[in-house]
């Protein structure tokens, strides 16, 4: 075995390098001038420039900043509301053990597999009927409803692992179900909450079809839709397209690098329980 000990790291490095190549291209070209992008797309930025980044940040139509603002508001509100509602729903359903509760769970689980494309036509009509079409609150509502089943599922798995006795003791002390939940149960579910927040955060930040159709153009759109818009017009100017994508991904990427362990555990853990 030992005589080939160089082989495994070599193969690993080689495969990873190939895998990484597209990302490398996307990142290095952010810091090159347009001519250099065309002339030597693979080279390191020998004379690094921030022109592309500055160009995106100072675009006269504010595409980046508007998009960023919308994305932050949409993602932030959606994941917080979904987490709160899902945690409560899951807790109640697991503890009640009633038949209708189980039926409700079954119905919600089917919701897990529904592609957004399937419900878009009536969904836009529902939103129009309640006057929330092409508004941020409308898009938040859609995200909450659409991702709720997944979050409930993650929380349900977790609630089962919390001993009932804790809540019963609190109830004997005269605490209401609501107080018990917030003071005792919810803090215990921190890992599940982290899972849900991370998973939904990534999904909603990256979402494309739903904001494209629901948010529409009126209130401005998310940063992800902004990328789609900018490629049509500036496709040839790879430097600025890559710069926009780089900046749009930076928030998620930073979170990932800071909380890598939680991320991987959150994303796969959430799925594993699903």
């Amino acid at each position: 075995m030992h005589r080939r000990s160089w082989l495994r790291p070599f193969v690993s490095l080689f495969l990873t390098a190939i895998f990484f190549l597209p990302l490398y291209v996307a990142v290095v070209n952010v810091f090159k001038s347009s001519e250099e992008v065309v002339r030597a797309p693979l080279a390191l930025p020998l004379r690094p420039t921030l022109d592309n980044v500055i160009g995106v940040l100072t675009r006269p139509d504010g595409l980046f900043w508007h998009g960023l603002g919308n994305s932050v508001l949409l993602t932030g509100s959606s994941i917080v509301i979904t987490t709160v509602l899902a945690a409560m729903t899951a807790h109640y359903l697991v503890r009640s053990e009633a038949l209708w509760g189980r039926i409700l769970i079954m119905i919600m689980l089917t919701g897990l597999m529904i592609p957004p494309a399937v419900i878009m036509v009536p969904l836009t009509r529902v939103l129009r009927a309640i006057g929330l079409m092409s508004t941020l609150p409308g898009a938040i509502l859609v995200n909450v409803g659409y991702y709720l089943p997944f979050a409930v599922l993650v929380f349900m798995g977790f609630v089962r692992s919390i001993p009932k006795e804790l809540e019963e003791a609190a109830a004997l002390d005269g605490a209401s179900k609501f107080t018990t939940f917030w003071q005792i149960v919810f803090p215990l579910m921190r890992p599940a909450s982290a899972s849900v927040l991370i998973f939904l955060g990534v999904w909603i930040w990256n979402d494309f079809l739903t904001p494209l159709l629901i948010l529409g153009p009126g209130t401005g759109n998310t940063i992800t839709v902004g990328i789609y818009r900018s490629i049509g017009t500036y496709q040839r100017d790879f430097g600025s397209v890559f710069a926009l994508m780089f900046l749009a991904t930076l928030p998620v990427l930073t979170f990932y690098l800071l909380f890598q362990k939680h991320f991987i555990r959150g994303l796969t853990g959430g799925a594993t329980k699903g």
Binding site: P60, V80, T124, S134, I214, G216, P217, R229, T233
Partner: protein, 416 residues
Amino acid sequence: MKRILSGLAVALSTMLMTSTAFADVTLKFLTFETPNLTAAYWDKVIAQTSAKVPGVTIEKLVSPTTDRDSYARQLDSTGQLPDIMIAVSPNGLAETGKLAEFTKEELSDWVNPTSNSFDGKIFQLATNTQTVPTIYYRKADFEKAGVTAPPKTWEELLAAADKLKAAGITPFNIGGGGADTWANLYSLKALVGSEVYAKDQQWLAKLTRGETTFKDPLFVKAVTKFKEVVDKGYVDPVLLSNDYPATQASFLGGKGAMYPMGSWFAVAPNAEQQAEYGVFPWPTDDGSLVVAAYTGGGLSVSSSAPDVALAKKWAIEFSKQNADGGARFDALFVSLKGYRPPADLPPLYGATLEIYSSAQQHGTVTTAFGEEGGTPALPSGFTKEVAAAVADLINGRVDVNGFVDYLDEKYTELTK
């Protein structure tokens, strides 16, 4: 947690408030951006127009791709049809009463007020004419291949293409990848113009009445000619993956000798490049001049705009404010009465306009296939299918028969 939630609620409600706080009427205006028509350009014209039409606040919407026809329909499907739109085909929207009608008085400044009429009713300002297409060519490539003069007849075109190919130059640059499939349509537009519409002006009316199909010998001949160009290897299928901006860039970057494109290309080469390119009309069998052109392309107004009269007023003023810019940045042949384009427009603009004017004098301007405004017209969504089928034709996935069969099938499906 509570604090976060209430913070959010406050943030959301302020956002909602600010959008309704204007005293002016807010009108949503849908534009699109291209390398020539930039965000800054639109903003400028919008500001100029709003200065002349007080009481309007314009909220600019930008189509995410250059295919604003699809986007306007997507918005309509979700109940968000913009109040004012530029260069969006009225077909399908007009018939169902979604657009506001322009009156004769409102159209008095236009040269061809009645083009794109829906049984006499006008829903889109016929602000400009575009030839779709003429062929732009690189003079150096023609020289290198020994093509001395731009071809006039079909035979000459094939001969020129043959010489170019022999010299190692791709004769035609045809692109249309990604969301821009429409960009591959221009050769066929020219051929349908000269082979179908020029020979039978009632052809489309017959088609809509069910008296003919795409298997009509006239139409088949047009497709066969295009197929001939493809079969002889004059088109590089790989260039098809370029979207529209990339196609223009690749032609300007030296790929392909001939570029069948709408007249807006005339202003794409910069001042130094202008002299490197020439333009000629799509050749016909006998060398006679036939030019397919589209007159329309202006603004339309939603019938459910918050203030339709004001929106129309704004749209009309915008057309005037946009005239010079339209000519300069989009090479539009502005069809406002008494309009004179700026004197310093690039040479290709003049050359293209001359071809159009000459065809006008001869009375040989035809409708552009796929851009027939008003009635009769092809069903909404059909042009997209044609463009997709053209890509198949170039890729060799279908032959002429398969092509016209597909068109017939889609036509039936979309008119059902």
